[in-house]
Symmetry: C2
Subunit: 764 residues, 2 copies
């Protein structure tokens, strides 16, 4: 992809502080919810109070009559255009901005109000009367698939059950392979839905110009996706919508789709001619927000006596909730991740995305992988015991290595997995500790691999996956335009670091404009799938290379360089690599370039689209994590004392950012494993505050140690690959394994609660 | 320049309503003063109360101690870097953001305060104590040039008088030419300063990011100029300053420089880390605002008996006030305009820019031309009487025509002047009316010519004079990025009309982003000198041509066009001109282009820089105006009853906009001629409200009739040239001539007041 391997610019690998830190710690950062425009109206949604029903009638007259109410809309007032991220397969687009004939879950959006104060909007919502005709509802996979179950999307005549879509992978002869196995491990698992629990609830403000063009400031990871889908649901040209991403307080996959409040803000802004703003409450977020798919998984793995894996048969049912959302991707990736980490010469996957009358599941950090790998890793730990092989040794025996292929899925272009396993074993004194575990103490292992962005074009964009523009100026500065979104993960800092390193100037000499569909180049799919560092980084290096080629001309002419001499960019200078005195400052070179080009501005666009990279990703991260726990024998409470991680994310661009990702991932992994769980009764989510939905806090965090495995990913910028999502995967299986070592309780049904531990021990 | 002559797109010549009208009539338009950012501090300036003094001491302690005051700065706190628009000659840059050692006029800026409320800021200003050592002051040109006058810029050791700069033009042998003349007309004139009187007082709000980059929203005509000068006075890289132009409520040349409040807002924002805002009061505007130069002019013109002009000797002293400001340009252009309109085979110009202890004069609509042409036109009217030739016939005899050259100055590329004169004569029944004037009625004539942008690079930019970017989209829309500034004159509408016409799509399919130095292409000198339609229009056609070339490829391939066939763009389609059915929609063509280019975005930059176009402009407008007045014999009050104009602005892009410019120009010309006048006593401006500084209102407007002369300017987009400034020129000489016809009072000292008329008649 690029020739950056030889670039040993000292900026790469430096812990440059985050660009956004000062604005965030001083409270200056402007989130979408902080933006109030002149004449703003306050929006509020009416949510369904029933899980499954026909809408017989909606009476909005009292709401409309309330003084201060400027607009009330129901589904029928809208163009009634369905949307969904999987534009490649339009029949997966099953969601309407506002329900028209039916509601399908408690929280389904029915109507919206815009009023001059938030209080009036709320009062107006209470005045809307909805007449329902109740339908039977299903709240889990089994009920949804039972004969006679109500069809949740009966309007889709192609569906004969609540399975909205499936995916099949068949590599090799599965029947024969299992016949050849010496040992077969077969288990069933349940994994639970999990909230993104981002700090910033979704917020949106939309305004409309005199010609009907909409500008929307919204808490999103994917401005381009919101632009396209908002335009199509409004029925206006795509470029009559401008999506601007302000500061974002976390996304984790929960903000990568068009959402109803974005539509309603834009639609009502067009109707009223005034800005319309929605800010979700925490309660609404936890009630109707997307979440990680709960799944029911059956997995069967065959081994030879020596531990060599011969086959895997993996069957997953995903609880999709009421709409597809990003479920197709999760169904797709769950199958891909089921085949990851180890060499499965024969592999079968059956994935089914199932509608239920629950809030829709969507993308969430890991995107099918945490579920698939909790199962794989737990089974590896169980098989190791049965086979009498150390769990790490068993892994090393089967670990994927650079060059491995998964038929029809991918090729592993770089893998530091074996090295991660070896490092974690020695660093944690794995074998010694395991042999000498004190009572109630456990040590366990979990591993992961994750994608560095997806290559499968489900959004069906005709534009490049990533694009940027770089402008270079005579004052020694540059301006980077990128559609990528820093959602708290630090990509603005890292992308600027990549450009600065390549141009040989300081990061603070670079102005950055990001995530504004009217300003930053098309297209860019945004922030998800750990794609930004690799994909946008590559686009940036593409643009940077063009800028450097231009400036090299200047130095070459000015100093009459021999054609064999290369030109280097470092310390704010452009010079002959072989003889640095033949050079000038970056700004001087641009000045001369502008003169040479008779007044042109020096700009370059850079793009990156992965091509012929299989079906999954251009590059995989790998890693191994060891958890050490203490379990209170009386209460069953698990205390995670230490988490050690050895991981391969390719070249580390910014160690501080990598540490931040690791810490955040462990916090999220802890919550997933031990304490976060939706309490749902008859389809209604009961725990809708952070008092009741328990997210680990600072005091819950264990000691964290990490080891970086040196690899170089040739497809990545400066050799880098992902670090944002993969690290959230190993924590659950590692803790579960440690809990097993401490208590004998083997978790096949997340989360691990004290009740489950005590019950397994017959203590309650 | 471009091949648009053959483009007969129906959009050109259409009265498309202004883009900005809805936002302005509904009050939604956001001016700089409407922008309040979180944590905004309110700025206020301390202005000198004396006209000329050394600053002995400034005590800011009491101001600083006032609760709510966050910053107080004086000149010495700043980097003390002088600025001025004439970067080409750095020694003309004579202004400091805040006075350091001396003040030079009443209103000179000494200190600034930023506080949490405007009231506290004002109170703090009152607490600052300045100790002056008074110096003698001069308030007019004669006193300033008298022997022993105080040197206002004694710090500039190159100056030996208060003449800050001069310009000389010598074409031919002036002594001999006057010897050959049959009739010599020699007169002295005084013209007065004139306020822009824009509706929107200057307003600025600046914010600073964590790395010290400043974003400033400011009421300006010239974002790029403000960016450059703000950066240099702050001592930071140019591109660490972003200047954004919000809606602007008029400029007329008064908002084309860096101003003190812009510096102070940015500087104090950097010091405090908070946004800092300044909004001038109307009183401050009229007290310290720039104004049109008052001048003292001697003009001597030689004629042959038959009316043929043989020579002109033109000497102008410009009252520059305390700083150069745009005075160098006015001095330069006054000389150029002195040579305009008629063929002067021999021409001498002596122009002197003189410092006085008055507020600085600057650029104002017409920029040296209203003064120069008031004199020329008045002398033509006087000479016509003496020579016994009709005033229009005399003009026609000497009128410039297409192809005329002014040595060392310019070539006239198109001139509809003779046609204008002929048209106005017939349309107004000039000769008949003049012969049969009722008592107290008068009819008079004045003519004009003006530039369509300047070609002399006084700002010394290294970038193109105009630049734009066009992005074309698959939904049939486009996005135009331009640094040009709509300041109320309607350029956004006209530029979009030009692009729409050329691309064959509707104007409302084009998103427009203008006047944002971080977004819109560099460079562009902004809005002044009637440059926007011609220069930015040309840049747009340059970009549009590139876009069209790309889309023509698509149609050519798709329909296998013969290489001799041209591709046309009209009605939202791209098609073979010879056979329109071979075509597709604009959006379909872009879609295919993106596909052909494997995901690239279709964008093009366009530029325009006039090269080798002499010293003045690429194209001149021309016109003739007739005023009909009634003068009350008892009160001397002049009522202008009708103004008729025949004018040549090349192709009319938008008739409605041209009418608007004409009406605005007549309003401003009326005020200049009859009622607007600064009352200044000992250097202090006394009339600082619109009650006392009398601007004509709607009820003062005469009947207006206009006639468009058909010409085609080959250097202009679709044949267009300027209409924004020239029309302000003829009104004063036309009214003055009419007043002479009605009363016998020949004005050589603007404005024409009832007192002057009555005095001339011995009535008072």
């Amino acid at each position: 992809m690029n020739d950056t391997k030889t670039n040993n610019n000292s900026l790469i690998g430096q812990s440059i502080p985050r660009i956004d830190s000062p604005s965030k710690v001083t409270g200056k950062a402007q989130y979408a919810g902080d933006i109030i425009l002149p004449g703003t109206l306050y929006g509020k949604l009416l949510l369904s109070t029933v899980a499954h029903a026909k809408i017989k009638n909606i009476d909005i007259s009292a709401a409309l009559a309330l003084p201060g109410v400027k607009d009330v809309i129901v589904g029928k007032d809208t163009p009634c255009i369905k949307f969904g991220n999987w534009r490649l397969f339009p029949n997966t687009q099953d969601e309407l901005p506002l329900a028209v004939d039916k509601v399908r879950f408690i929280g389904d959006e029915i109507a919206a109000v815009a009023a001059i104060t938030p209080e009036i909007a709320e009062a107006a919502i209470a005045l809307i009367k909805v007449e329902y005709e109740l339908l039977p509802a299903v709240f889990n996979i089994d009920d949804s698939l039972a004969p006679g179950a109500p069809l949740i999307h009966d309007e889709n005549k192609e569906l004969t059950s609540n399975i909205s879509l499936d995916r099949k992978i068949d590599v090799g002869d599965i029947e024969q392979a299992f016949k050849d196995a010496d040992y077969i491990r077969e288990d069933s698992f349940l994994v639970h839905p999990h909230s993104h629990a981002y700090m910033e609830p979704c917020a949106t403000i939309a305004e409309t110009d005199a010609e009907g063009r909409v500008t929307i400031y919204t808490s999103t990871q994917t401005p381009y996706i919101v632009q396209c889908l908002l335009a199509s649901t409004l029925g206006i040209p795509e470029n009559h919508v401008r999506v601007v991403k302000p500061a974002i307080g976390g996304g984790f996959g929960g903000k990568m789709e068009l959402r109803t409040w974005e539509f309603c803000a834009a639609f009502m802004s067009r109707r009223t001619g005034r800005p319309v703003r929605f800010v979700l409450t925490r309660q609404e977020e936890l009630e109707i927000g997307r979440r990680r798919h709960g799944m029911k998984i059956k997995s069967k793995v065959g081994f030879k006596k020596d531990g060599t894996i011969v086959a895997k048969d993996f069957e997953a049912y995903l609880d999709g909730g009421a709409y597809n959302s990003m479920g197709p991707t999760a169904t797709f990736l769950c199958g891909n991740f089921g085949a990851m980490l180890y060499r499965y010469p024969v592999y079968r996957y059956r994935g089914y995305h199932v509608y239920t009358n629950l809030p829709p599941s969507g993308a969430m950090r890991g995107f099918g992988a945490p579920q698939a790998m909790f199962i794989s890793e737990t089974q590896m730990n169980m098989a190791a015991i049965d086979l009498g092989i150390d769990a790490i040794d068993l892994r090393i025996k089967n670990a994927m290595v650079t060059g491995d292929k998964i038929e029809g899925v991918t090729t592993i272009s770089s893998a530091g997995f074996v090295e991660s396993l070896e490092k974690i074993a020695s660093a944690t004194q794995w074998k010694e500790k395991k042999k000498n575990l004190p009572p109630n103490k456990g040590i366990g292992i979990g591993c992961y691999s994750f994608i560095s962005g997806g290559v499968f074009n489900w959004f069906n964009t005709q534009y490049h996956f990533s694009a940027c523009e770089v402008r270079a100026y005579d004052d020694g500065t540059a301006h980077l335009f990128t559609m990528s979104c820093d959602i708290g993960q630090g990509s603005d800092t890292v992308l600027r670091q990549i450009l600065a390193a390549d141009l040989g100037i300081l990061p603070n000499m670079i102005r950055l404009t990001a995530g504004d569909t009217a300003m930053t180049p098309k297209g860019d799919l945004g922030t998800w799938g750990s794609r930004v560092t690799l994909m946008n980084g590559n686009a940036i290096l593409d643009a940077s290379k063009k800028i450097k080629n231009e400036l090299a001309k200047i130095v070459s002419v000015k100093f009459n360089l021999n054609v064999i001499h290369d030109v280097a960019f470092a310390d704010g200078r452009v010079f002959a690599k072989a003889n640095p005195k033949y050079g000038m400052t970056f700004g001087e070179a641009v000045t001369m370039w502008v003169k040479m080009n008779r007044g042109e501005e020096l700009t370059a666009r850079g793009v990156y689209t992965p091509r012929d990279k299989g079906l999954t990703t251009p590059a995989y991260s790998f890693g191994a994590q060891v958890a050490e726990v203490d379990v209170d024998p009386e209460t069953g409470v698990v205390t995670v004392e230490k988490i050690s991680t050895a991981h391969d994310c390719g070249t580390v661009i910014n160690p501080l950012s990598v540490e931040g990702q690791l810490e955040g991932a462990i916090q999220m992994g802890l919550g997933y494993t031990l304490c976060e769980q939706f309490a749902i009764k008859d389809g209604k989510t009961l725990n809708t505050t952070f008092l009741d939905y328990k997210v680990p806090a600072a005091e819950d965090m264990p000691q964290i140690v990490s080891y970086k495995i040196d690899t170089y990913e040739k497809e990545g910028p400066f050799g880098a690959k992902e670090v944002g999502e993969g690290l959230v995967i190993p924590t659950a299986p590692a803790i579960a394994d440690a809990v097993f070592q401490a208590t004998g309780y083997r978790c096949k049904d997340l989360p691990i609660t004290p009740e489950k531990i005590l019950k397994s021990q017959g203590k309650i």
